[in-house]
């Protein structure tokens, strides 16, 4: 059986984040907490963000889900750390475009490992898995801004 298509979805960098998630756990103090789930499949994320002086100082996640949702959460926490709130929201916008298969600005930020998730756009049933953590981050940052 050939799994060339699958390789577009499950790149080794994704599997690495799934097996060795970065920023796994929960921040204790002075944090914004967001719990979100995907009611159609049961994936859930518990995200804690430390937001100070308009900057995402730290981010950790906990949760349960498939390789795509958990690796995406790992990558998201990695890339937003140290970013300004507006930048974090902008990254969420870029990620959303990437998932919809639309053109996105790939010059402004070094997307790093996140680029490996581009292949998810070709698997419509899995897009919601990938966007869960980003939606949680967006919600947390927006709540803080308002």
């Amino acid at each position: 059986m050939s799994f060339n298509n699958l390789d577009q979805l499950y790149r080794s960098v994704i599997m690495d984040h799934y097996k060795n998630p970065r920023n796994k756990g929960s921040l204790d103090e002075n944090t914004v907490t967001i719990d979100m789930n995907n009611p159609t499949c049961g994936d859930r994320i518990h995200l804690t963000l430390k937001l100070n002086d308009g900057i995402v100082e730290d981010a950790k996640f906990d949760g349960e889900g498939c390789s795509i949702s958990m690796s995406s959460a790992s990558m998201m926490t990695q890339i937003v750390k140290g970013k300004k709130l507006d930048e974090a929201l902008e990254l969420a916008g870029i990620f959303s475009k990437m998932m919809l298969g639309e053109d996105f600005d790939d010059e402004k930020y070094d997307l790093g490992d996140v680029e490996a998730l581009q292949g998810v756009a070709k698997f419509p049933a899995r897009i919601k898995c990938a966007t869960l953590a980003w939606k949680a981050m967006e919600k947390g940052v927006n709540n803080e801004k308002n």
Binding site: F3, N5, L6, Y10, T40, C41, G42, G65, C66
Partner: protein, 409 residues
């Protein structure tokens, strides 16, 4: 016996998905439709389409005859005593909500108990939750045995003199187990409660006899038994339906409308407000003809065989856990499982790349997932058009998934 050329009746099965012949193992979510049902719908719209119960013209008569003819087919299919006990609805969810919102709202008072089980589908949990909250009633759950079955003893413990409604699924959409609803109905009646049966996963796969079960309400959906989506049935005992107020009001269901008050048509039409699901009901009638031609006993035997074969074959895969009863005779044709270290979504995506359609997720049964201590599972479900070769393809696909995820790790 199932006819050898059974797949040829289902045009959708004759296609490739991602470069492989389609292996459809998701019939518990919705079944595929035979050409006979598709043609019944086409013929209705090409030749007979009209509104029912009102026109004096010929098309109106034809549509009414076909619609009411389908009701008689349903009556026979579940062995109800009267056509007045057969109400067409959108599906099981609407039917259960109608019982909760009609019978429940009229009869439940503070302190009453409603008894369900841990394995129920959300559609047989939430209507009762809402009713219990509104009325100050208590929602109780019958505990499951270790293998995911329901014991009569546990049912007896949960159902008391305070119980007014017991509602249990006939066949579990996750565990595949066939529940002793006839025995539970007896316990319910001994305690003065009514018995509601969610028959969504049972009606497609085995002979139903509502009089033998002695249930008070029985709900099922057409789309899981070869009929179109959007048509289902609520059966209710005549005496109960006669005393039950409609939940939907409007055209079709009235007898006389005054400025301040109105009266209702007789059964079953008082529960069918608005233009009914005419084509859907006719499609359901055609599906029943089809199922009866194949034979419900043949379908049940075929599925027991496939369930047994699937469990044998799947057990040869290291790290694969099967949920539910191990005896294939105690279950319908579905197997829910998890593969070590590979999330069910990932399993489903890998299988899809090989043309195999399975379900992954919580199967609308979150309390049961909690009881099983999992967040999600994968499910392969079978129908008359599946065969051993489909299960062999599933097993090969799962082995590849294991290999693939083993490699990338």
């Amino acid at each position: 016996m199932i006819p050898k050329d059974i797949k040829s009746y289902f045009p959708i099965l004759n296609q490739e998905i991602n470069g492989h012949p389609l292996v459809y193992l998701d019939s518990a979510a919705t079944s595929q439709k035979p050409i006979q049902v598709i043609e019944a719908l086409t013929n209705y719209y090409n030749l007979d389409n009209s509104n029912v119960h009102r026109g004096v013209h010929t098309l109106g008569n034809r549509a009414t005859d076909s619609y009411e003819g389908a009701r008689e087919k349903v009556r026979k299919f579940i062995n109800a005593a009267s056509m007045q006990e057969i109400i067409f609805m959108r599906g099981t969810t609407t039917a259960l909500n109608t019982v909760a919102g009609g019978y429940g709202r009229q009869n439940i008072v503070e302190g009453d108990e409603i008894v369900i089980t841990y394995m129920e589908h959300h559609s047989n949990i939430i209507p009762w939750q809402q009713l219990a909250k509104d009325k100050g009633a208590v929602l109780k759950y019958i505990e499951l045995e270790a293998d995911g079955t329901i014991s009569i003893e546990k049912a007896r413990e949960a159902i008391t003199a305070k119980t007014k409604i017991v509602s249990v699924m006939y066949v579990s959409n996750v565990l595949g187990s066939i529940n002793p609803v006839k025995e539970i109905a007896k316990i319910a009646h001994e305690n003065g409660a009514i018995m509601v049966v969610d028959g969504a996963q049972a009606a497609p796969h085995m002979k139903i006899d509502v009089q033998d079960l002695d249930c008070d309400f029985f709900a099922f959906s057409g789309h899981k038994m070869c009929a179109p989506t959007g048509i289902g049935v609520l059966y209710g005992k005549k005496a109960l339906l006669e005393n039950m107020e409609p939940v939907e009001f409007g055209g079709e269901m009235i007898d006389f409308v005054g400025l301040q008050e109105s009266t209702w048509k007789e059964l079953p039409w008082k529960f069918e407000g608005g233009t009914p699901i005419i084509a859907g009901a006719i499609g359901l009638g055609a599906a029943i003809d089809f199922l009866e031609e194949i034979g419900l006993d043949n379908i049940a035997a075929h599925e027991h065989h496939l369930a047994g074969y699937a469990m044998d074959q799947l057990s040869t895969i290291d790290g694969l856990t099967i949920f539910g009863p191990t005896d294939p005779m105690k279950r319908c044709g579905l197997v829910t499982f998890n593969l070590d270290d590979v999330h069910p979504h990932d399993v489903a995506t890998v299988l899809d790349m090989s043309g195999i359609a399975v379900r992954a997720g919580h199967h609308c049964a979150q309390p049961l997932m909690k009881w099983l201590q999992v967040t999600a599972t994968a499910r392969a479900s079978f129908y008359m058009y599946n065969d051993e070769a489909d299960i062999d393809a599933l097993v090969a696909g799962l082995r590849s998934a294991k290999e693939y995820f083993g490699d990338v790790f």
